[in-house]
Symmetry: C2
């Protein structure tokens, strides 16, 4: 038997793969199947952002005189309906996992002590184990962090009404996504970032995010020292007890911490994560870890892939995880997709993204999106892309695959797209293909 | 000097490519730059469909109780604003073309008689020519075809109000797209198709289109014999003078005919198209044809590529057009993308598309889209895809490239996507990769 602890993307996909290979698999899930991704992360952002984008598109049509008005949305119904849909997806995942032949035990605590695996304190005989217990939001260690109204993405579903004012502590991707959505719903949003807002991002994307977050107050390089109660509001305080913002709700989106406490006797890293090699092996033979519990990047597709690769290695397939050029995206008015990094010898080119589905009515505002392509100057190999466009994240997987394969722009010149589209990368590939050929000739 | 007749996608891209290579290029455009694509085709559908999708999304949110109402849109303002945007794009194309070094002459008639090229009847010395005069809507040869209220996609911009009832003659892609949009705006739409509705399409996509066109009356295998005036309405008649529909407006979306009349002394085909080989050479040395004037498929990206390949061949680069696995898409509630065809030994698999951006709120209606992947049974090479999903057309270019390159599902198993997304093809690639490996082992 193989024991998998945690039913999020990593554990679930790993378990299914093992079951497909004929193994007896026991999946332990303390709460609900689907992990943070379904219950507190990706799908929540997707639900909020789909509604927020609809509102912003309506405002755009209204400004042009095409739509008569932009209707209000009921935030409490949105949250309720979102949770229903999450429940429906949860049921699908449960069924899919069982049908693959995985035994699921809910409400039990899985634990590992070195090679020994326990279910609710009782040791179970297992030939191998995968620890896939995910991560949880970091709650800043400041006075007032437990006050009513201070929430994390894990407790966002408890909001019963739309806050008039919302303060978001954190300057990362989740912070930007929540700010976009709540701002579209009508909240006054303040972001407080300890260092820079979206500081690890390409400046092209950072500038685009600022445009999408017009009206949101963004305070950078601003540590939070306390959250106090002031009248009916939460007052967020900074250095020298300065009041940074007042709001009904304070959302902590300050990063994630691996849920590695259930594993003992194996090597851990500085973030508390379980240390694994590129086969997803921990320091203890037969015990693997996959997904957020093994540290960043905290991304669903990476967790899924790690789960499957851990499973493949348990099955003796000797498979390594490839962390190069992992595509990522931020959901604002459109997808902000980025993949790959420039090298020392990078040639880069950018242009506005074309007007297409989802951006036709943005032409008058001259904001149809933007694209940037980076190639290795000598070889012409694709190195990286940055794309702001509706549906931009959809092409991330394919561009990532092309970058990983060392594909050159010249090889890709014969790409035929579907028209109209918003993929600004394609014309850049063509242009740079020509440029690269010319350069080689001269 | 090289003469290019026609400033649509084929002519414009061919002219730019020649100019980039240092050639003197004269581009002749009778009316406006951008061709049917900008003025009567792709961009019009994009404008209408972006607004229609917004309305349908609003209805979905309203059904769930999230949106308070779905606002009305002003059709006349939509048309007016669309035309403004078309003008803006036109100006961009004009500037881009001139900046590349192309000389554009507007309002003149280009003509070719064998090797001789004429501008407004006057012969011009040219080393080569590209005929890229596009196509125009077929107007059925029936009584009443010239009555007021009978329009084609070329005269759609003349509509001043939304018709209460709209009859569309034709059962192809454009017909489906216009039906979706006008139906969302509130018109009662009847489609009359001489043979089957979307009959050349995969049944999976055809069924999906029917779902999106709920409420639209679709009459198949129904030839139209006349359009009569009856009260204030247009009565469309069929066999035995049966009344098929009554409507304020009748839109003929009955296919396209190549604009090849301006070319004489070179070989033409059954549709009146200029016959070309895969180098885009006509039967006359030095004269090339590209885009719709050279016959189907009537697609902007194909026209663009043909224009560029004609230019490359004029430049002595010996380049062939590759017509395999051209991706296409239909804009309904989401993109209906298809690419590639099954062979005799095809293994295929399908599944619902995942809930993601643009389809999260469709989960309760169990209509998040669908995906189908076809591989060559022996080799595991990708052969074809069918995808109904928001943004599905965006990934068409990449899947087409993978199919053309003979990529196998096993090679693509390491694709890492961005989550959440609606690309149902990715999990199928993974699943079939595993399946294919197992099959090979046994």
């Amino acid at each position: 038997m193989i024991v998998v602890i945690g039913g999020g993307p990593a554990g679930r996909l790993g378990a299914i793969r093992l079951a497909h290979a004929g193994k007896e698999v026991l999946l332990l899930e303390k709460k609900k199947i689907g992990g943070q991704c379904l219950h507190h992360g990706c799908m929540v952002v997707c639900a909020l952002s789909d509604a927020a984008r609809w509102i912003r598109s309506g405002e755009q049509l209204q400004q042009l005189g095409i739509a008569s008005s932009t209707p209000a949305i009921s935030f409490s119904t949105l949250i309720k309906e979102m949770q229903k849909i999450q429940g429906q997806i949860e049921a699908v995942l449960d069924e899919e996992t069982r049908q693959a032949g995985v035994e699921i035990q809910y409400g039990v605590e899985g634990r590992c002590e070195g090679e020994a695996l326990y279910v609710d304190g009782e040791q179970v005989p297992a030939e191998a184990g995968i620890i896939a217990t995910g991560s949880r939001p970091i709650v800043l260690d400041i006075p007032g962090r437990e006050r009513p109204g201070v929430i994390t993405p894990h407790t966002l579903g408890s909001l019963e009404t739309l806050p008039l004012r919302l303060t978001i502590i954190g300057g990362g991707i989740m912070s930007a996504e929540f700010a976009y959505a709540f701002s579209a719903f009508g909240s006054e949003v303040t972001i407080i970032a300890r260092s820079g807002f979206l500081r690890t991002l390409d400046p092209l994307l950072r500038r685009g995010a600022r445009t999408d977050l017009e009206g949101v107050i963004i305070r950078e390089n601003t540590p939070v020292t306390a959250i106090e109660r002031s009248g009916g509001l939460l007052s967020v305080r900074g250095r020298d007890d300065e009041e940074l913002s007042e709001a009904e709700v304070v959302l902590m989106a300050s990063g994630l911490r691996p849920n590695a406490e259930c594993a003992r006797g194996l090597r851990k890293g500085d973030l508390g994560e379980i240390v694994v090699d590129d086969h997803l092996r921990t320091s203890v033979p037969g015990i693997y870890a996959a997904g957020d519990v093994a540290g960043p990047p905290y991304l669903t597709p990476v967790a899924r892939m790690e789960g499957m690769i851990a499973a493949d290695n348990i099955l003796g397939k000797e498979r390594q995880m490839d962390y190069r050029a992992i595509p990522q995206s931020i959901s604002l008015s459109r997808d902000f997709m980025f993949c790959g990094e420039p090298s020392e010898d990078t040639a880069a080119i950018g242009s506005p993204a074309p007007a297409g589905p989802g951006s036709f009515w943005a032409v008058p505002s001259r904001n149809t999106g933007t694209a940037r392509l980076m190639i290795q100057g000598e070889s012409g190999e694709l190195e990286g892309v940055r794309l702001i466009a509706p549906g931009g994240s959809l092409i991330g997987a394919y561009l990532s695959a092309l970058i990983r394969r060392g594909c050159t722009v010249t090889e890709l010149e014969d790409l035929i797209e579907v028209h109209p589209n918003t993929d600004g990368i394609l014309p850049l590939i063509r242009y740079m293909g020509e440029w690269n050929k010319k350069r080689k000739r001269s």
